[in-house]
């Protein structure tokens, strides 16, 4: 799967990183948050992943960069809060029985700790909406379409263009095949209860709902095989409702669809 040593992935990440920092730096220079973000971004060449997947789709990568931004902001905010807390905890330990100054309030400080968080939240919201618009965008003319049907306890993948069906449940896990570098629109439905269509490496999940159709796009950037899971509790064998996602080159994808046309793989 995604390996930091993989030169291809690494190259893409660096590109993405540049994009992200150029987004942050000019806009929020005045705020403490952006200063902290920029300082951390400059002091180390690459921002750590903080344990998250780098994203194997363009959408997933955008989410990953947003996550990094949130992580840096939270380190800054959490760091300041904990520094204040620890300072108070040690500095103001009880020394004697005297009664300290009875301070009731300090309006400028109170306004400060109201306004600064609002500014931070507005910045976070701004970047959230930008990334969100990318992640939820559905192309009017995708290269491929696939219909995913979730059921207790398995998945059915149907490619309408070639009338290909991949279905499996129980001990064999079905495989969703996607072309790299192309846009695939997924149409997601459920036959019975609510399921969660979740591909961790794509940084994406969406509920499969009975009676409601969801649509979203994947633009895979990396070839490879990834695990997919059901994330929403759906009954007894929820834990075993797995699938795999195989991203292959467009050429390999064409020959695969040609070989599978009209077939049902169970």
């Amino acid at each position: 799967m995604l390996n930091p040593q993989d030169p291809e992935v690494d190259g893409e990440m660096k590109q993405g990183h540049k994009k992200f920092t150029s987004l942050v730096r000019p806009r929020g220079v005045t705020s403490a948050l952006a200063v902290a973000t920029a300082a951390l971004g400059l002091s180390s060449c690459t921002i750590p992943t903080f344990g998250a997947f780098k994203g194997a789709t363009t959408q997933g990568q955008s989410t990953f960069h947003l996550f990094q931004g949130f992580a840096l902001a939270s380190i800054a905010v959490g760091g300041v809060t904990f520094l204040l807390l620890f300072y108070v905890m040690f500095r103001f330990r009880k020394k004697d029985e005297s009664i300290p100054k009875q301070t009731h309030s300090n309006v400028p400080i109170e306004i400060m700790y109201t306004v600064i968080p609002i500014i931070i939240v507005v910045i976070l919201f701004f970047f959230t909406v930008r990334v969100e618009n990318k992640v939820v965008a559905v192309s009017p003319s995708p290269n491929q379409r696939v219909t995913v049907t979730a059921f207790q306890w398995g998945w059915k993948f149907y490619y309408p263009a070639t009338n290909t069906t991949v279905i499996a449940s129980g001990n064999t896990y079905p495989q969703l095949v996607l072309p790299q570098g192309e846009t695939t629109t997924v149409t997601l439905v459920s036959k019975d209860v609510v399921h969660g269509f979740y591909i961790p490496a794509f940084n994406f999940s969406r509920y499969a709902l009975p009676g409601f159709t969801n649509r979203f796009d994947f633009n895979p950037t990396t070839t490879g095989t990834f695990i997919g899971r059901c994330s929403q509790l759906c009954g007894l064998y929820h834990s075993e409702m797995l699938f795999s996602v195989k991203v292959i080159s467009p050429a390999a994808f064409s020959s695969w669809t040609a070989s599978q046309a009209g077939k049902v793989t169970a």
């Binding site: 990953f64 949130f70 939270s74 300290p100 301070t103 919201f125 969100e132 969660g196 999940s205 007894l236």
Partner: protein, 568 residues
């Protein structure tokens, strides 16, 4: 009306009358005294805490190894469903608004009892009945409910979850829901109508303020849940199709109704505990609370915003307006942040007396800050898409809820234990318990953030050795056992304190609020006399006249007049 009658009764019988009243089990069964009911609530909730905590130990044991066979998948699903249901419906809420609020609100506002004492008793008995009903699910042939504490439709339908277990779950929560509504009515009425002379709204202790807002939130949220449950029951048994696609209903409706309850519920659970630490930080710093009005307005802001954030639990349904719910969810971090800074501001420049209540309350700030910050991540829809229904969320809400209910809850419990019992707990055992639980808690939940980011969904009974989840799960399990050990230390502490009582005195902490102006434990109608209420700290004013709040320039003109007229 009841109150005046009871007061009359009191003066007729004289003081000795109370001590000849019923005692022991009969008193426990028949009492309408808010203090007895409050204690009943508190101790019952703690029993449920231990039951659900035991379930957590079983859950962690199952997850300690890949392909775990400690319990079956069906049993596992039942365990986490009832673990969550007990913790949220039977422990966290009732412990706070049934236990602490019942006991403390009348004392803090100088009232002799709650406004509706019999309704209060009914609340408790509905709660106890509801709790037992939920546990009975395990005795049915098909087992307890196994669809998670959120009971999503249509998994909770009669086709997908047949049997009596799910029915008992529905009935149980409906009963507890009514109990909560009655308590909410009682709290709001008590606070509006039974405040002692001089106890204006802006002289109420922060805890009472938080309980007022909690009561209002209960009245907004619980009826929706109860209605949703009745509709679910009708779908299961009377052939309605409210949540069923087949008859033209909508499964997503359940999610909307449930979370319209569920998100205010999170604050119904958290606000009482915010209130408790807002009492503890000032007393153990020997300072008034910093920014009293700011705290009150932050509480009101949280309550207002909390009714408009429910759909952040539904970002991945594809059926909600993402920017709206994202914006409000991010915004709710602001008043929550204000509270944290207010508590730090309260301690700033103080004389911090590190007794167990303060230690636990600081532990609460640490846990809650971490859980709050990761909550900001989840308020961002793209990040939620990546982490929804994973262990990232599990870690987040445990840091928030365990942080509030356990760290702030035990801070409050140890703070008011002398008032409840007239005795002192053992300080060193309370501190030992803190460190064991604090370390155990972090070792349990911090690895779960990483597990979530690695893609481990919540509510899975088994995972594969090739998933790379094993090591982090093992750490988490060790942390879980350590946390469990911490609660054994608590039992030891209570046992020793009960067997070898150390009298605590009426006001061992130099407390500020009216409950510290009466005896420990208080007499049956709470006060024989009340100190004058001229500020938020009447007991402090009485005990430290040279530093009294009403003498500070902070005081309002109105209070100044009152003082000059009473002194003149």
């Amino acid at each position: 009306m009841t109150l005046t009658e009871e007061k009359k009764g009191e003066s007729d019988h004289g003081q000795a009358g109370h001590h000849e009243g019923p005692s022991g089990l009969y008193r426990w069964l028949t009492s309408t005294d808010h203090k007895v009911i409050g204690k009943n609530y508190m101790y019952t909730a703690m029993v449920f805490l231990f039951i659900a905590g035991g379930m957590a130990m079983l859950i962690r044991t199952q997850l300690a190894s890949p392909n775990g066979h400690f319990v079956s998948q069906q049993t596992y699903n039942e365990l986490f469903t009832i673990h969550g249901s007990i913790m949220l419906y039977l422990f966290a809420g009732p412990f706070a608004f049934g236990g602490f609020a019942n006991y403390l609100v009348p004392l803090q506002i100088g009232a002799p009892d709650m406004a509706f004492p019999r309704l209060n008793a009914l609340s408790y008995w509905l709660y106890l009945t509801g709790g037992i009903t939920m546990l009975l699910g395990f005795l049915t042939a098909s087992g307890a409910a196994a669809f998670g504490w959120v009971g999503y439709a249509p998994l909770s339908s009669s086709t997908n979850s047949p049997g009596a277990g799910p029915d008992l779950w529905i009935v149980s929560i409906a009963l507890v829901g009514f109990s909560g509504i009655f308590t909410g009515v009682n709290l709001v009425t008590t606070i509006f109508y039974l405040r002692a002379p001089g106890m204006t709204m802006f002289r109420m202790p922060i805890f009472t303020w938080n309980m007022l807002v909690t009561g209002l939130l209960i009245l907004i949220a619980f009826p929706v849940l109860t209605a949703a449950l009745i509709m679910l029951y009708a779908d299961r048994h009377f052939g309605t199709v409210i949540y069923s696609v087949k008859g033209g209903g909508s499964p997503v409706l359940w999610q909307n109704l449930f979370w319209f309850f569920g998100h205010p519920e999170v604050y119904i659970l958290a606000l009482p505990f915010f209130g408790m630490v807002s009492e503890i930080f000032p007393v153990f710093s020997k300072k008034p609370v910093f920014g009293y009005k700011g705290l009150v307005f932050a509480t009101l802001a949280i309550a207002g915003l909390s009714t408009g954030v429910w759909a952040h639990h539904m970002f991945t349904t594809g059926t909600v307006l993402l920017p709206f719910f994202s914006a409000l969810s991010l915004l709710i971090a602001v008043p929550t942040g204000i509270k944290i800074f207010t508590w730090i501001g309260t301690m700033w420049g103080g004389q911090l007396n590190y007794k167990a209540p303060l230690t636990w309350a600081i532990g609460f700030i640490v846990a809650f800050t971490m859980g709050g910050i990761t909550g900001v991540f989840l308020a961002s829809p793209p990040i939620d898409f990546a982490t929804h229904d994973t262990y990232f969320v599990v870690a987040h809400f445990h840091q928030v809820l365990f942080g509030s209910t356990i760290f702030a809850g035990f801070a409050g419990f140890f703070y008011w234990y002398p008032k409840l019992t007239g005795r002192m707990y053992r300080e060193w055992l309370a501190k030992l318990q803190f460190w064991v639980v604090f370390i155990g808690f972090n070792v349990t939940f911090l690895p779960q953030y990483l597990l979530g980011l690695k893609g481990m969904p919540r509510r899975i009974a088994v995972y594969s050795p090739t998933d790379g989840f094993t090591f982090l799960n093992q750490i988490s399990t060790v942390g879980g056992y350590l946390t469990g050990l911490g609660f054994v230390i608590f039992l030891v502490n209570m046992w020793i304190s009960w067997k070898r009582p150390v009298p605590a005195g009426d006001n061992p902490w130099d407390g500020y609020t009216l409950e510290w102006a009466t005896t420990s434990p208080p007499p049956s109608h709470n006060f024989t006399s009340l100190p004058p209420v001229r500020s938020t700290r009447p007991t402090w004013d009485r005990n430290h006249p040279e530093h009294a709040d009403y003498k500070s320039p902070h005081v309002t003109e109105y209070a100044k007049k009152e003082v000059s007229s009473s002194e003149g």
